[in-house]
């Protein structure tokens, strides 16, 4: 670089040198708008199909420029985490920082390369725009600033939770996962964008955004308080909930190169429940109990999640509740269906203990229909709730399925649930085939695997179902962990016959399934009988479906009630066609813990309204 000395004032001719510039070609710029750079931050675009209406863009907007607008003709699908809200931008406030783009969970919102908008004072409404696929003037626009893995602002990866290795857990029923530590929980909670999709998708509408925020703030007691607003089975649901919330979670995105895992909402719930001492939880919950007694009495049949949730709500409101349970302990399917390694006994006990501490009375080993009749309950109580679950396993009824060693999964799980520790309550087969691809199939297979490991130090279990592996109704984790534990899974097989020799089961004959559903999505399997296999087994276990045991109703009541496709017909509020009888839980909705909890609330609400005179049940069903 040429040095200029301070003293140098330059030649007297220097100013004249500048005359040379007259000879230079002038530079001319067009008046037309120049095309903007490739990643220009111009006006917004929004892919209306990709956008899920989570309003995260609105929360990050530093100028409060985004208003969420309800667009009725768009899809509203809470179960899959889609709202019909879309961001509208106030260009009087927007500063084009593109933080909305960087934080968008789906990558729907983007900035275009369009940057010219002119209007008169009386057209000021043109500053308020609902961005769509086309630019703000309705013309095709190129994309400018878009989401890339680099500028994505969300933490897409779930915080890992410690768990036992397959080797460590293979021969015992200890709970597999460790649960989050304080640091892990706060980190995981910090990933939440507070969109509320989880709340909307949850059958019982848990206040997940609120309790996640409370966990993030380190206030676990507040978190527990939020949970008990809607779910007295938070220990249980914190471990085994089907967590639709996580399906609906805005962070549950495929289609992004960087991947995106939903918030571990279930594990956060588990964390908060475990982080607060049990006695303290009881104190927190007791604060909500009504001090006044109504003098009304309610009988509830079945001490599972639906029955006990209803009981919890009703005692909270000052009613007197008596629960009858046929089995020796409470919890229903959560105890007699779910193995300890997924849901340890004491977690369930703690949930039930909180409920009982509110004044719910439970009579165990009392089978309605045998010891006490329905008619008696009708006479003795102001209202009766039927929450009997689905206790009976369905059979394929293929040839050989009537053999004594063809067992139902629910029956075996009940036996296991009734025994402690290493005792199963039945003889453990050296080899077994489980028919079914749901969580029940995995539960029995994995329980059996543990017993086999203990007794024979090897696992010889095949799980087979007609579905393809991707379509198995079981949770992905269950399948993964089953495989880790040495269980063989053979998908796409149709069971044909249980092979029996000398009155001993020898195996299960199956055919290959070419396709399961027809073009309407209804069940219509196509088999290939040339591909036949026989899986050796001493025991065949059926886990294809369950049904309710409604014999307790007796013939008269069965005839009185209205039914709907094999289930008692109930109105939205759980009331049956008998004005004194409500029904809730799996026996009306199909199997799902959190759905049962939601149902419990619903019938409690209806009964409370009915008994306090706010609503008269006329026994007529108000159809949905």
């Amino acid at each position: 670089m040429k040095k200029i000395k301070y003293e140098d004032i330059g030649s007297i001719l220097n100013p004249l040198k500048n005359l040379q510039f007259f000879a230079r070609k002038p530079i001319t710029e067009d008046l037309e708008p120049r095309p903007a750079a490739k990643i220009y931050r111009g006006f917004h675009l929004n892919d209306m199909e990709k956008c899920i209406g989570c309003s995260t863009c609105q929360k990050i907007c530093d100028n409060a420029a985004i208003t969420m607008v309800k667009v009725p003709h768009l899809k509203e699908d809470p179960v899959n985490g889609i709202k019909n809200l879309r961001p509208a931008i106030d260009y009087g406030r927007c500063c084009w920082c593109a933080l909305c783009v960087d934080i968008c969970p789906t990558g729907a919102i983007e900035l275009s390369r369009e940057y010219v908008h002119v209007c008169d004072g009386d057209e000021v409404d043109s500053y308020f725009i609902l961005p769509q696929e086309k630019g703000i003037h309705g013309t095709e626009q190129e994309k400018g600033w878009t989401k890339t893995a680099s500028n994505d602002l969300l933490a897409r990866t779930r915080t890992d939770m410690g768990e036992m290795t397959p080797e460590a857990r293979g021969d015992n029923f200890k709970e597999i996962v460790d649960g989050y530590t304080d640091e892990q929980a706060i980190l995981e909670a910090s990933r939440c964008v507070q969109c509320g999709m989880c709340h909307d998708s949850c059958p019982t509408h848990m206040h997940a955004p609120e309790y996640i925020r409370a966990i993030w703030k380190g206030n676990v007691e507040e978190a527990v308080e939020w949970m008990y607003e809607t779910n007295p089975f938070s220990h249980v649901c914190g471990r085994v909930c089907t967590h639709r919330c996580e399906t609906a979670c805005s962070l549950n995105q495929t289609g992004l190169p960087q991947g995106s895992e939903p918030i571990a909402i279930r594990w956060l719930k588990r964390y908060a429940m475990d982080a607060v001492p049990h006695e303290r939880i009881k104190e927190i919950v007791a604060r909500k109990k009504s001090q006044e007694k109504t003098g009304k009495t309610i009988a509830i049949i079945g001490a599972g999640p639906a029955g006990l949730t209803a009981a919890f709500d009703l005692v909270k409101r000052g009613h007197d509740v008596q629960v009858f349970e046929a089995l020796p302990k409470g919890g229903g399917m959560t105890r007699y269906g779910i193995p300890y390694y997924r849901l340890p006994d004491d977690s369930l006990e703690r949930d039930i203990d909180v409920i009982q501490s509110m004044g719910v009375k439970i009579e165990y080993n009392t089978r309605i229909g045998e010891q006490i009749s329905m008619a008696q309950l009708h006479t003795d109580y102001d209202a009766v709730v039927l929450a009997i679950g689905l206790q009976s396993g369905r059979s394929t009824r293929i040839p050989g399925s009537e053999h004594k060693d063809t067992r139902s999964a629910v029956e075996l799980l009940r036996l296991i649930g009734n025994h402690d520790g290493d005792e199963a309550g039945f003889d453990i087969p050296r080899t077994a085939v489980v028919i079914g691809g749901g969580n029940v199939a995995m539960d029995i297979a994995r329980s059996l695997a543990r017993y086999q490991k203990q007794r024979f130090n090897q696992v010889e279990i095949i799980v087979t179902a007609i579905d393809e592996l991707e379509k198995f109704p079981a949770d992905k984790e269950e399948i993964k962990e089953s495989l880790e534990e040495g269980i063989t899974i053979i998908p796409s097989r149709g069971p044909q016959q249980v092979m029996i020799e000398n009155d001993q089961i020898k195996g299960l004959k199956t055919w290959h399934v070419e396709s399961v559903f027809d073009s309407d999505g209804r069940f219509a399997p196509q088999y290939d009988d040339s591909d036949e296999q026989i899986y050796p087994a001493e025991m065949v276990i059926e886990a294809i479906g369950q049904m309710a045991e409604t014999e307790l109703l007796g013939n008269t009541l069965t005839e009185q009630l209205e039914w709907e496709r094999g289930r008692i017909k109930v109105a939205q509020d759980g009331s049956t066609s008998a004005p004194w009888l409500w029904s809730a839980g799996d026996c009306v909705n199909g199997p799902d813990v959190v759905h049962a909890v939601a149902d419990g609330h619903r019938v409690a609400e209806s009964i409370h309204a009915c008994l306090t005179g706010n609503k008269v049940s006329d026994g007529k069903l108000n159809d949905e």
């Binding site: 689905l390 009824r397 039914w563």
Partner: protein, 169 residues
């Protein structure tokens, strides 16, 4: 009345038929028998599963009406030709299902198995008749009937799945 009886006597009667109308009349008769059987069963089963039997009554009634209308239709041949251009696929799903004795108080699964077996039998029967009949209007009418029964069976299979496989959790 056992299934075998129905099947044999039905087959003999059908083989004796010589006109399209005869065949359809016979078929209509079978549907009527089935309808009456289910109608008689309905009050005997628990109200919980009565819907299934009632649906079967409606189904059989619909078949009965269809065949009867066809038998009385002067353009019977043309109608049948039209129907058999799109045969449904035959699924082998229920092949393995045994025909149970219904007993006094059958459950939903038993009833469905029975109904499936019955449709299977009818379907097989019409199929084999169609195969053994030379080309012509008679063959067409058997094909048509086989096709109708196949469709009915497929429908029942779907119901079977929805009832029995309630989706293991």
């Amino acid at each position: 009345m056992t299934n075998n009886n129905t099947e044999e006597s039905g087959l003999q009667k059908l083989q004796a038929c010589t006109s399209l109308k005869d065949i359809l009349d016979q078929a209509t008769d079978f549907e009527r028998t089935a309808r009456d059987f289910y109608a008689a069963l309905s009050p005997k089963v628990s109200k919980r599963i009565r819907y299934l039997v009632d649906e079967l009554v409606i189904e059989e009634q619909a078949h009965y009406d269809l065949f009867k209308d066809l038998a009385n239709n002067p353009e019977i041949e043309a109608q049948i030709k039209l129907e058999i251009t799109t045969p449904p696929g035959n699924k082998r799903f229920s092949d393995c299902i045994q025909l149970p004795d219904l007993g006094d108080n059958p459950d939903d699964q038993t009833i469905l198995q029975y109904a499936l077996g019955r449709e299977q039998a009818a379907m097989d029967q019409y199929h084999s008749l169609a195969e053994s009949t030379p080309e012509g209007p008679l063959k067409d009418v058997f094909t048509f009937l086989a096709q109708e029964e196949t469709e009915h069976k497929n429908e029942l299979e779907k119901i079977y799945y929805e009832v029995v496989h309630s989706g293991g959790v």
